[in-house]
């Protein structure tokens, strides 16, 4: 009888690196020490805009013992190579934002570095800075999405026009492990960097340009990474470049680790936004024309802003069907540190606006929030704002019903109405329905052309080789599950290699909810290719048992040496995108969701508490129920912080509250029980039917929570973060 290996996909298998994480054995970058290490530090600008006049080194510091690097020491190009070449790795004379790197220092003794760092004086000729993004006229990128004829609808006399403007603030990723790297570099050996990061090949690309080195002379190795959330997408290229320049000059490996204050002040955050909605509806609340003006604050350099803007633009109209849509969007320059990737990547901003606006439309028309959505939901065969026809089975009403039922919506809304008449604690329920596209936008995945490999080991097990990083979300575990099912071998026989550009192919960045759906599928294909080679060699029969597979692999290795399977991304035939018109299939697949927040508002202190949260979503096949649930709960919690706690206080373009004492993220007592429900519609091009999941949960909480607060208080609030003092002001203004 044939022995069957239980399917790994859909099962709660043990997290691959779990044991190392609960014993303290897992090595993060700051846990790695060598006797010959020097310690580096970055000297940064204190003004928002201007030029450097003079740099003074305190004579009391023994500078001869130090390595000091300026822009003049850069062997190649002084740019952080990403999209545009506008951001220097070290400022030469021009300063465009506070905390811009100017100088680097290193010394074998960490205390000496701390002492010396504080004594360097930079004088500036200050220039006028643009700090208000609504007043900036430097546009980094703009998009325009057009569908149907918006203007003729707005001219009609029989429509109701609903207008409002919505604002979102910056948000710090606040991974608990600060950014850091160790670099080793010399003109003989090239450059090697170890570090905390999401995208080893982004760092690789940046280092090649910086040192003018060929591919094989630059090596980037990801160490265990303590959270990223987008915050370790592009900025590690900067840190790696700095550490490598110091190492190149001083001849020693250099460790460069940020402390919390530097990490918060200097690195990227979520783009602040302003979104204007103007909507024409009929008397039943049917959307007839949607006009959206979406504006992002990009900060001082382009970095990833065009891509963030793109995602925000495409998601701006929400999961609704409307024949006439116009979205115009811009990301503009200000003299603050560049804003960058943060889980959701532009979508949480534009979806906040549309989901607040749907509640406003509901009030104007006089229908319930759930009903206004139901009347406008996209369905299978319907067309999104970019004219993408939804081909997969889609039942948003079903998702919504599930969420309404689980949250006890109807009963509680009625109960709260009565309760609120007599209590100083007002209670409310609010809703958001939304979508999130998985993978790179439009032609992005085709251009990326990701490659992965799997190799057979001498022991007869499989090792997965990709550049996609484990940053807490479960990459190692899900890749092993995918291989296990593809080859019908036990999960325990699969390991995932540490991402190292000298060892793994470029499978693209660990971003955009793409690791599972896009790269996971490549891993599955590469595993099957390896199996094909084994079968072709005659050592393995088709549909052999796991033990036969293992035996065949060991024999193959003895006989022929290496055995690898490869796969490269192929665009599914159903994906067609027009970059010029910004029209077509923006994403291979969307995840869909209905979230409901239950809140209490204390009308004495204006404190808002989320008492319960319901998250219902359709993400294709769930690969690992526990990890997937963890993604949702964690994302919702970041969304609660985004809505109610996390304010970046700006002073002259610089984050003034760059400490955990003053920038508040939710703690265990601020977070409610979060009920997570998955509905599964397998998506054939994903591994085992999976779609993307990582970013989705950050899109819905903020609008659901604010809609709940409006339900509790009967006042409208259109901006986040909404701290007690903000709510107090809104309520006082309304009196």
């Amino acid at each position: 009888m044939k022995k069957r290996t239980p399917k790994a996909i859909g099962r709660v298998v043990p997290r691959k690196e779990g044991r190392a994480k609960v014993t303290g054995e897992a090595k993060y970058i700051d846990d790695i020490n060598r006797d010959d290490l020097w310690h580096g530090a970055t000297i940064r600008s204190s003004v928002a805009r201007g030029s450097i006049r003079k740099i003074t080194f305190d004579p009391k510091i023994p500078w001869k013992e130090f390595c000091v690097v300026t822009a003049k020491d850069i062997p190649g190009k002084n740019v952080v190579a990403l999209i545009e070449g506008d951001q220097p790795l070290l400022a030469e004379t021009r300063i465009e934002h506070p905390e811009e790197p100017v100088l680097l220092i290193a010394h074998p003794n960490k205390e000496m570095v701390t002492r010396a760092r504080a004594t360097i004086q930079i004088e500036y000729a200050a220039a006028a800075a643009v700090l208000d993004f609504e007043k900036s006229d430097t546009v980094f990128k703009s998009y325009s999405v057009n569908k149907g004829d918006v203007d003729s609808v707005f001219r009609r006399k029989d429509v109701t026009i609903v207008e409002e403007t919505y604002f979102t603030g910056a948000q710090e990723q606040l991974y608990i492990e600060m950014n850091g790297v160790i670099a080793q570099a010399s003109s003989q050996t090239g450059v090697t960097v170890w570090g905390s990061m999401q995208c080893p090949y982004y760092v690789h690309k940046a280092l090649k340009a910086l040192f003018q080195l060929p591919d094989d002379r630059v090596r980037v190795i990801q160490t265990e990474t303590g959270g990223g959330f987008g915050g370790k997408e592009e900025y590690p290229s900067m840190i790696a470049g700095h550490a490598a320049l110091l190492a190149w000059k001083c001849g020693h490996p250099v460790k460069l680790i940020y402390d919390r204050a530097e990490d918060m002040a200097a690195t990227t955050k979520r783009h602040p936004s302003r979104t204007r909605h103007r909507t024409a509806v009929d008397k039943n609340g049917k959307l007839l024309a949607v006009e959206i003006d979406f504006l992002l604050d990009g900060g001082a350099y382009v970095t990833l802003s065009p891509v963030v803007l793109s995602r925000g633009t495409i998601h701006a109209a929400g999961p609704y069907l409307c024949d006439n849509v116009r979205v115009q969007s811009r990301v503009v320059k200000t003299n603050t540190p560049p804003h960058g990737a943060f889980r959701g990547f532009g979508a949480p901003q534009s979806l906040f606006a549309v989901e607040k606006h749907m509640d406003r439309i509901a009030r104007v028309v006089g229908v319930a929030p759930e009903e206004i959505r139901r009347r406008n939901f996209l369905k299978t065969g319907g067309m999104t704002a970019t004219s993408q026809v939804i081909q997969q089975k889609l039942d948003l009403s079903g998702l919504l019903d599930k969420a309404l039922k689980k949250s006890n919506w109807k009963t509680k809304r009625e109960k709260f109405l009565k309760h609120n008449k007599t209590s100083k604690i007002k209670k409310g329920l609010g809703l958001a329905t939304f979508l999130h596209g998985a993978g790179f936008t439009g032609s992005g995945e085709r251009v990326l052309a990701s490659k992965v490999a799997v190799e057979g080991t001498e022991k007869g097990t499989i090792r997965v080789l990709t550049a996609n990083t484990e940053i807490g979300q479960g990459t190692n575990t899900i890749f092993a599950q995918v291989v296990s099912d593809a080859l019908k071998i036990p999960y325990e026989w699969v390991e995932v290699a540490q991402p190292d550009t000298a060892r793994v192919p470029n499978s693209g960045p660990t971003v955009a909810s793409r690791t599972c759906m896009i790269v996971g599928k490549l891993v599955e294909r590469a595993a099957l290719e390896l199996e094909g080679k084994l079968i072709d060699s005659g050592l393995l029969e088709k549909n052999g048992e796991p033990s036969q597979f293992r035996k065949a692999l060991v024999q193959y290795r003895k006989k022929y040496g290496e055995l690898k399977g490869f796969a490269e991304y192929i665009q599914p035939s159903h994906v067609n995108w027009d970059d010029q018109l910004y029209r077509g299939d923006a994403y291979g697949a969307f995840a869909w969701a209905a979230y409901i927040a239950e809140v209490s508002v204390d009308t004495v202190t204006y404190c808002c508490t989320v008492d319960r949260f319901t998250a219902v979503q359709e993400v294709g096949r769930v690969v690992h129920p526990l990890l997937a649930e963890g993604q949702i709960i964690g994302g919702v919690t970041q969304g609660i912080g985004y809505a109610l706690y996390e304010r970046v206080v700006w002073k002259d373009g610089r984050m003034a509250n760059n400490s955990l004492t003053n920038y508040i993220i939710p703690t265990s007592v601020d977070t409610p029980t979060i009920d997570v429900i998955f509905l599964e519609e397998p998506y054939e091009p994903g591994p085992g039917g999976a779609k993307g999941i990582g970013e989705l949960p950050l899109d819905g909480p903020a609008p659901a929570i604010l809609n709940a607060i409006e339900n509790a208080l009967g006042v409208e609030v259109n901006h986040i973060p909404l701290l007690p003092e903000d709510l107090l002001r809104v309520c006082e203004a309304g009196r």
């Binding site: 303290g24 919390r260 979300q473 526990l626 964690g634 265990s668």
Partner: protein
């Protein structure tokens, strides 16, 4: 010449030379080779550096080594004996660790709670862990790990 401080860490005797104001966190990580204890903020807000000092839960970034002289310290490395502790197993089972950087501090804070309350309820656990920040999990699976730890010890 820096003074010598004797202390017992995870049951093992250590003598370290350090400036009296050096942080216990740095001594553990840099001199004792115990890098399981993490730095998340350096100002006592995040709890990533939690250790037990004579059984008391402290942030080791706020404790000068002079204050730990002669003390018994428990770090994450001291939780497992031959096999994982019930609490560690429960973290694995319930998905209490995601990126893992807050995990050592969480485990230590939870151990402190479990010493006084063998079967704490959800509310008690949430209160006991309120000084430990996590950005990945939304706490729910950590709370379940701690609530469920007694089942693992059977």
């Amino acid at each position: 010449m820096k003074p010598t401080f004797k202390l017992k860490i995870n049951g093992k005797a250590f003598a370290v030379q350090a400036h009296p104001l050096e942080r216990l966190l740095d001594v553990l990580r840099e001199q004792c080779g115990l890098s399981g204890t993490k730095e998340g903020c350096g100002e006592g807000e995040c709890g990533a550096c939690s250790v037990l000092l004579n059984g008391e839960l402290v942030n080791s970034c706020l404790v000068p080594i002079a204050q730990a002289a002669g003390a018994a310290v428990l770090t994450v490395e001291g939780l497992a004996s031959k096999s994982l502790s019930a609490l560690q197993k429960s973290f694995l089972e319930h998905g209490g660790a995601q990126c893992g950087i807050c995990t050592p501090g969480m485990l230590i804070a939870a151990s402190a709670l479990l010493k006084t309350s063998r079967r704490p309820n959800e509310k008690k656990v949430r209160e006991a862990l309120a000084g430990n920040l996590c950005r990945c999990t939304g706490y729910q699976n950590i709370v379940e790990s701690v609530v469920g730890a007694h089942k693992e010890s059977r």
